[in-house]
């Protein structure tokens, strides 16, 4: 079970993640996108889910990642990601509830450049009973 004290908390994640052009190229190739000058809208999931996994699986938070199913996903893109961009990451546990034995957690991940948020994403994760 998730530690209730962690709900509402923001956890600082990686303080410097650089997106490479080859990562964007590989993602674009899978979906048939020919324009690799900016990353596709869902590209950041590869950063945010890894960040969320590492924070939520921390023993002081206590989520069992092995039983996680992705419930929904939302992106708000202020500035499209480009190859070479460097971000710091933070993850906020926005809400938590238990329904029929399943734990339902919503986390927000922010990718920030030095001065501003480039992208926020929300993942609802369901830990199956």
């Amino acid at each position: 079970m998730l530690n209730p004290d962690s709900v509402g908390r923001t956890f600082e994640g990686a303080d410097s993640i650089t997106v490479t052009q080859s990562e964007i190229d590989a993602f674009c190739a899978v979906i048939g996108e020919g324009d690799t000058s900016v990353a596709p809208p869902t590209f950041s999931i590869r950063i945010s889910l890894e960040q969320s996994q590492s924070i939520l699986s921390d023993p002081t938070v206590g989520l069992d990642w092995r039983r996680v199913v992705h419930g929904d996903q939302k992106f708000e893109i202020f500035s499209p990601i480009k190859g070479g961009d460097t971000f710091s990451c933070s993850t906020t546990i926005e809400s938590y509830r238990v329904a029929a034995g399943n734990e339902i957690v919503t986390v927000r991940s922010d990718l920030k450049t030095e001065s501003e948020i480039a992208l926020s994403s929300w993942s609802t994760l369901v830990v199956r009973a």
Binding site: A26, V30, I31, P40, I45, R46, H70, Q73, K74, P80
Partner: protein
């Protein structure tokens, strides 16, 4: 015509095991339910299923093609309501349509529909684009 209620042309993506492997490598999501049939069955799934985020990435491609590029998408969200089931050596469809549901201040909201084998796989799927 860009006005509320306008339907966009349907597009059909092909999804198969090869694509799931490619997406796993590109996204870093190597969960075996997306590649290993024996494992998928052992956790109660009907077969290997596509990554929800692969479905969202393909529907996102539909959106960005219409919007004139990835940089024109400002919001995008969906709920994963049913899996895209991908048996071995089989091409399954991901069929996408959209209707314009709002137009304001240069932003257009698309209500998206995605089905596979006739089953709706995304719920509440919406994107906002600049156009």
């Amino acid at each position: 015509m860009i006005e509320i209620g306008t339907a966009l042309p349907e597009h059909v993506f092909t999804v198969n095991r090869e694509l799931l492997k490619a997406y796993a490598d590109a996204s870093g999501d190597q969960n075996p339910i997306h590649q290993n049939e024996e494992f998928a069955l052992s956790v109660g799934l009907p077969n290997v299923i596509a990554h929800g985020m692969l479905t969202m990435a393909l529907v996102g491609k539909y959106v960005t093609d219409w919007a004139g590029g990835s940089s024109n998408v400002t919001h995008y969200g969906a709920r994963f309501i049913k899996p895209v089931i991908v048996p071995a050596d089989t091409d399954v469809d991901l069929t996408v349509t959209a209707v314009i549901s709002a137009v304001e201040n240069g932003s257009i909201t698309l209500d998206l529909t995605a089905t596979s084998a006739g089953v709706k796989v995304l719920g509440m799927a919406k994107a906002v684009v600049k156009k």
